[in-house]
Subunit: 339 residues, 2 copies
């Protein structure tokens, strides 16, 4: 049997899957941010004609999947697996979205790391020869997340400056064994790492060690250096977590400062948009990746990108029970060439 594992945590694909189409749908606030021109659809309000924010989130994900298929010029019956997850209890945005499709479904939970978790598994299933086309999708919604994780919106609580703003948005990628790229060439799968932080309003530092660990593992396993990348972008470390991750990675001998960014930093203008440390949520790296990054890869203004979606694996119950917040991150290497 072919051994495709390189190093401890990385897979290098023999037949790198191609991303043949993506789609992004975002809420009004995201549509006013710095990346507004890269999204396929910006909603006028956060209900989109639905009776609840949760139903709106399901619709976001479902419509993003349909739009990604359309953008990929692929019909639903050609898709062999759907990989999706979200932040809602029991990932109902994904399950209720998947109900609309006649596609075998694997439900995932990786908190805000779900975009790179789904791309990792989807790419392995394609390269392994189990499918020719898969869809990877995720979503989040500011109002469903706030009332589930924190307080009712009506409560009008003050948000600490370390807090992040959950992105309202959904992104979907169609991966294929065929296609002209960009290609997923490597995936490095992360471990759960807990730095002992207990403040649920300060999740960047809880996730930073996991992000640093997987990025360092990626370099060690592949032999790549920061110079091989045009962009290394974490999911939602935001401003506080990003600087911690950068420092932890530097301690391991890799200076990524010139090419390092974070989806949570890129999506909002914190000064104009009152988003404090930055954006967060599964939808954050999903819309930045499937919008901004994918479009720049297509026009070759980015040539090789490492997407590192990051997740904080807390629940309101675990926090109430005095638990600290473990983090996870998965790295996906995407290139315009099939090396």
């Amino acid at each position: 049997m072919a051994q495709k594992k390189i190093g401890e945590q990385t897979v290098k694909f023999d037949n790198p899957p191609s991303i043949i189409g993506t789609a992004t749908i975002v809420g009004p606030k995201e549509g006013e941010g710095p990346l507004k021109d890269y999204f396929d659809l910006v909603l006028q309000d956060d209900l989109w004609g639905e009776e609840s924010w949760e139903k709106c989130e399901t619709k976001l994900q479902q419509e993003a999947i349909k739009m990604a298929l359309k953008n990929a010029q692929l019909i639903e019956s050609k898709v062999e697996y759907l990989f999706a997850g979200d932040l809602l209890n029991q990932i109902t945005a994904s399950s209720y979205s998947a109900r609309q499709f006649d596609i075998p479904f694997f439900g995932l939970y990786g908190a805000c790391s779900t975009m790179s978790e789904s791309l990792s598994l989807g790419a392995m299933i394609l390269d392994g020869g189990y499918a020719e086309n898969v869809v990877c999708a995720t979503s989040s919604h500011f109002s469903t997340a706030e009332r589930q994780y924190r307080f009712p919106l009506e409560h009008g609580n003050q948000r600490p400056l370390t807090s992040q703003w959950t992105v309202t948005g959904a992104g979907a990628s169609v991966l294929s064994s065929y296609g002209m790229g960009p290609y997923i060439t490597h995936v490095t799968t992360g471990k759960v790492i807990d730095p002992g932080i207990k403040d649920a309003n300060n999740m960047g530092p809880a996730m930073a060690p996991a992000a640093a660990d997987v990025i360092v593992a990626h370099f060690n396993d592949t032999g790549f250096t920061p110079e091989d990348y045009d962009l290394i972008i974490t999911g939602d470390l935001a401003s506080i977590g990003k600087s911690i991750a950068e420092e932890l990675i530097a301690k391991e001998g890799y200076d990524i400062s010139n090419i390092f960014s974070d989806c949570g930093i890129e999506i909002f203008d914190p000064k104009k948009q009152d988003t404090h440390a930055g954006g967060s949520g599964c939808g954050c790296s999903a819309v930045v990746f499937n919008g901004y990054i994918f479009k720049n890869l297509k026009k070759q203004s980015l040539k090789r990108v490492l997407l590192v979606s990051t997740g904080a694996l807390l629940s309101p119950t675990s926090v109430q029970q005095g638990e600290s917040i473990p983090g996870i991150a998965h790295a996906v290497s995407i290139s315009t060439i099939k090396e």
Copy 2:
């Protein structure tokens, strides 16, 4: 590239992964049921020295993984991926369990279908050449599930006769590219199917169509008939759901009545144990599979089994918002020979 897909939804493995070790830990009630002699450890109480039921569930999963590795005579550093999920909000039993291990982690959510979801993905990752050893695990706990999905236990609510009893237990399987079997030979991945049922105390019928659909797809894709199996066992359809599934499958031309059972029916004695329609929870098919079924496969008293863990994809919020309950099921074919 090898095309390993057969039919619409099934993968047939070139190098069927071997299940080289399993472990099961159950609560006191499960330890008094008909399958009590097949479990590795029966707890004396439902806290196991922890401060909360949720922390007990984390410990259940974590100790089941350690015990499965011991039973497989494998050290942790040889395991390349851990696939796990559970019913708790944000799958904290799995994430906090995974925190204890230095193993790359993929979090899953498939409700009570998680055991066969994890075995499906784990087997594909092994057969695809991405790993030599993976662990698949899941858990549930009666008391964490009751208070999360239904009422505080102190409320002492009356349970309708259609309701099921969430199993307190965890099961883990170690899969390997090497080993003497039993082997996972095929996986058939299910779709989300919603029969429109809105009663969260009657989940068997909500899952039965998904179970029937994936079993029929398995027969159609593989050419197997009911005669090829010693046992076809669903996850937790329990008494009401099982009879519906059997009828739906018969309508498609397959009479499985002689070899059809359900983990939720096998695990408790409903008359003596007051469990109404039967057992449920991720832990239900996990402990029946990793205990009773695995041990019977090892001693060849079962030769070919189709495990079909079943999940009801509701959340308390989706039910409160008037949504119906979609179901999902994944089928995993396990044989004593590597055919």
